[in-house]
C-alpha cells in the first residue's frame, strides 16, 4: 500500500509551481541568456578593440577558429589533459579505495590526509606545486633528484603539459578516492564472504566482486571529472599561462585569450559554442545515468 502518491489536490500543481518558480526562473535565465548571447556573438563580427567593425559574420568566426592551428593544439591539449588525469585518478583512486578500505592502525586519519588535496583551492595547489615542489633549483623534487644523483628537472619548460597533468591529477585523485571509497562501503560483506567460501583469493575478489560493484561509481567519477576537467583554467592561469608557446593551452584557456586578451568576442564565442557542444556530449550520458538512478 505504499505506492508513490502523486499529490492529487488541484491546488497542488499550482503550489508546487510557485515554490519552484524562483529557482527555475533564475536557472532558466542563467542558462538561456548567456547561451543565446554566445550563439549570437559567434555569428557576429565583434571585437572590442575594433568598435567600427560589426555585423553578421556568418560562419566566418567558426571558419577562422577551425582553421586556426591554435584551436587544434588546444583541443589536443584538452584531450591529453582530460585523458591522462582520468586514467591516473580512476586507476589510482580504485587502488587507493581498496587500500583505505582495509583495516589498519590510524586508517581514519590516513584517509583524511589522502582526501585533503580536493579541498585545496586550485590557485593554491598550482602555486605550491609550481614553486615548492617543481622549482628547478629549490623545489623538493629537484632536491630529491639531486640527492640520488640525478639532474634536476625544469618541469615547466621540459614537460609543461605533464606538469599540469600531475597537479590536476593530485587535486582529483582524492575526489575519485572519496567517491569510490563511499561506494565500496555499500558492498555487501556477505557477498565477499560467500566468494571467499567459494575459494576466491584477494585478487579474484577484486576483479569479480569489487570492480563490478564499483562500475557505476567509476562511471559517475569519469563523467563528473570530465565536465570539470574540460574547462581547467586556474591551474594553467597561475603556472604556465598556456605556454611555453601553446604547449599548455587548453580550450578554456584559448577562449580566455581570445576573449579577454585579444577582445575578439566573436571568435571567443565560437570557441565557447564548441566547448558547450563537447561538454554536452558528456552531459547527455551523465544525465541519463542519474535519471536511471532516480527511478530506483
Amino acid at each position: 500500500m505504499t505506492k508513490p502518491r502523486a499529490s492529487g489536490r488541484t491546488v497542488g500543481g499550482l503550489r508546487t509551481l510557485s515554490l519552484q518558480a524562483p529557482a527555475v526562473i533564475l536557472l532558466l535565465l542563467w542558462m538561456i541568456v548567456p547561451l543565446g548571447m554566445t550563439l549570437w556573438f559567434s555569428f557576429q563580427y565583434y571585437n572590442l578593440l575594433m568598435p567600427g567593425m560589426t555585423g553578421f559574420a556568418g560562419v566566418e568566426n567558426y571558419q577562422y577558429l577551425l582553421t586556426d592551428p591554435a584551436l587544434w593544439a588546444a583541443m589536443g591539449n584538452t584531450l591529453l589533459l582530460v585523458g591522462w588525469v582520468l586514467v591516473i585518478t580512476v586507476v589510482g583512486g580504485t587502488l587507493l579505495a581498496v587500500l583505505f578500505q582495509q583495516e589498519f592502525a590510524g586508517r581514519g586519519i590516513a584517509r583524511v590526509l589522502a582526501i585533503s588535496p580536493f579541498f585545496v583551492m586550485p590557485t593554491v595547489s598550482a602555486l605550491v606545486w609550481k614553486n615548492m615542489m617543481m622549482h628547478p633549483s629549490n623545489g623538493v623534487l629537484a632536491w630529491l633528484a639531486e640527492s640520488i644523483g640525478l639532474p634536476a628537472l625544469d618541469w615547466f619548460s621540459a614537460l609543461p603539459l605533464t606538469s599540469i597533468v600531475i597537479i590536476v591529477a593530485w587535486q582529483w585523485l582524492p575526489f575519485a578516492l572519496l567517491i569510490l571509497l563511499t561506494a565500496m562501503q555499500s558492498l555487501d560483506e556477505d557477498q565477499v564472504e560467500a566468494a571467499r567460501m567459494d575459494g576466491a583469493g584477494p585478487v579474484a575478489i577484486f576483479f569479480f566482486i569489487t570492480l563490478p560493484h564499483l562500475k557505476r561509481a567509476i562511471s559517475v567519477v569519469i563523467m563528473i571529472e570530465m565536465i570539470f576537467l574540460l574547462t581547467i583554467f586556474a591551474e594553467i592561469f597561475v603556472t604556465t599561462s598556456g605556454g611555453p608557446g601553446l604547449a599548455t593551452t587548453n580550450l578554456a584557456y584559448l577562449i580566455y585569450i581570445r576573449a579577454l586578451l585579444d577582445f575578439d568576442v566573436g571568435v571567443a564565442s565560437a570557441g565557447g559554442v564548441i566547448a558547450i557542444i563537447l561538454a554536452n556530449i558528456v552531459a547527455i550520458f551523465l544525465v541519463r545515468m542519474v535519471a536511471k538512478n532516480l527511478e530506483d
Binding site: A6, G12, G13, R15, T16, L17, L19, Q20, A23, V24, L26, W30, V33, P34, T38, F41, L96, Q102, F104, A105, G106, R107, A110, A114, S116, P117, F119, V120, M121, P122, T123, S125, A126, L127, V128, K130, M132, V140, W143, L178, I179, T182, A217, I224, I227, A234, F237, V238, A252, I255, Y256, L260, V265, A268, G271, I276, A279, V290, N293, L294
Partner: protein
C-alpha cells in the same frame, strides 16, 4: 577508526596470528606512506609558512626555527584581510541566497511532486553541465554593462546560480529521505505549510541542510574561474589573491605559504567534517 579489530584478536593459531599481524603491519605502513605522500605538498606548504624567506628557498629541511614573520607580513602589507573578507562574504552570501531559493523548490519537489518534477530536476542538473568558459563572454559583457564587474554582488550572483542546481539536488535527496507521514501527521495536527517547514522539516533535516550549505561554501570559496575573470581588486577573493603570487616578482614562498595556509585551513576542516555528505552532493545522489 583506529581500534584493534576483534577479528584479529581471536586468532585460530599462533602462526595465523603472526601472519595476520604482519599483514596488518604491512597495510599500516603502505597506507600511511601513501597518505603522507599525497598530503606532503600541503604539509610542506604549512611548514614553509613558518620559515623565513631565506629558509624557504634553501635546501629542503625539516629543521628550522619557526617564525610567524610571514604571517605578520601577509596580514600587515598585502591587505590579506580584505581578500579574506571578500571570500567570506561571497561564499556565505551566495550560500545563504542559494539555500533561500532552493529550500522551497526542494520542498515542493520532494513533497508535492507533479509529473514534471523529475524532468525539472534533471534539467537543473544539466545546467550545471554548461561549461563556464562557454558563457564567459556574455557574462563578462553583461556585468561590464551593468557595473557588476569586480563587485561582491556580481560574484555572489554567479556563485548562487552556479551552485543552485547542486543545492536543490542535495536538499531534494535529504528531504526525500524524510518520511512523508511525519509532515502529514503535522498537517493533521493543524500545521500550516510554513509551520510544517519551520517546526518539522527544518529541524529534522538540519544536518542535511548544514552539509549542503557547507558544500556550497566550499565550492564557492575554492572557485577560481569566475573570480579570476570577473574581479580585479575590489571584490577579489582569496583565490585571486593567491593567484597574484604567480607573477615572477611575487616569488616569496614563505609569504605565499602563509597566505595559502590561511586561505585553505578553514575549508580543509569543513571538508573533513562533511566528506560523507559531499559525495552525495557531488554525484547528484548517484553514489551513496
Amino acid at each position: 577508526m583506529t581500534t584493534v579489530s576483534s577479528k584479529t584478536a581471536a586468532p585460530r593459531s599462533v602462526s595465523g596470528w603472526r601472519s595476520a599481524q604482519s599483514k596488518r603491519l604491512l597495510l599500516t605502513v603502505v597506507g600511511w606512506s601513501v597518505a603522507v605522500v599525497i598530503f606532503f605538498p600541503i604539509f610542506w606548504m604549512i611548514l614553509t609558512g613558518f620559515k623565513t624567506e631565506t629558509a624557504a628557498i634553501a635546501d629542503p629541511s625539516l629543521i628550522f626555527s619557526p617564525t610567524l614573520e610571514s604571517y605578520q607580513e601577509v596580514q600587515a602589507r598585502s591587505g590579506y584581510a580584505r581578500f579574506a573578507l571578500n571570500s567570506v562574504a561571497v561564499a556565505f552570501g551566495s550560500t545563504l541566497l542559494a539555500l533561500l531559493i532552493a529550500i522551497p523548490a526542494a520542498y515542493a519537489m520532494a513533497f508535492l511532486p507533479t509529473k514534471r518534477t523529475k524532468g525539472t530536476l534533471l534539467w537543473m542538473l544539466s545546467t550545471k553541465m554548461l561549461p563556464s568558459v562557454g558563457v564567459l563572454v556574455p557574462i563578462y559583457l553583461i556585468f561590464r554593462d551593468v557595473g557588476l564587474l569586480d563587485t561582491r554582488t556580481g560574484l555572489i550572483i554567479v556563485y548562487t546560480l552556479m551552485n543552485l542546481p547542486i543545492v536543490v539536488w542535495m536538499l531534494y535527496t535529504f528531504f526525500k529521505d524524510m518520511p512523508k507521514d511525519i509532515l502529514e501527521a503535522g498537517r493533521m495536527d493543524g500545521a500550516s505549510t510554513l509551520q510544517e517547514v519551520l517546526y518539522l522539516l527544518l529541524p529534522l533535516t538540519l544536518p542535511g541542510i548544514a552539509s549542503t550549505g557547507l558544500l556550497s561554501v566550499i565550492l564557492s570559496w575554492n572557485e577560481a574561474f569566475w573570480s579570476l575573470n570577473l574581479t580585479t581588486s575590489n571584490a577579489a577573493p582569496l583565490t585571486a589573491y593567491i593567484a597574484s603570487f604567480s607573477s615572477p616578482e611575487g616569488l616569496f614562498w614563505a609569504k605565499l605559504s602563509a597566505a595559502s595556509t590561511m586561505a585553505i585551513a578553514p575549508i580543509l576542516i569543513l571538508g573533513w567534517m562533511t566528506q560523507k555528505q559531499m559525495v552525495r552532493g557531488l554525484t547528484f545522489g548517484a553514489v551513496k
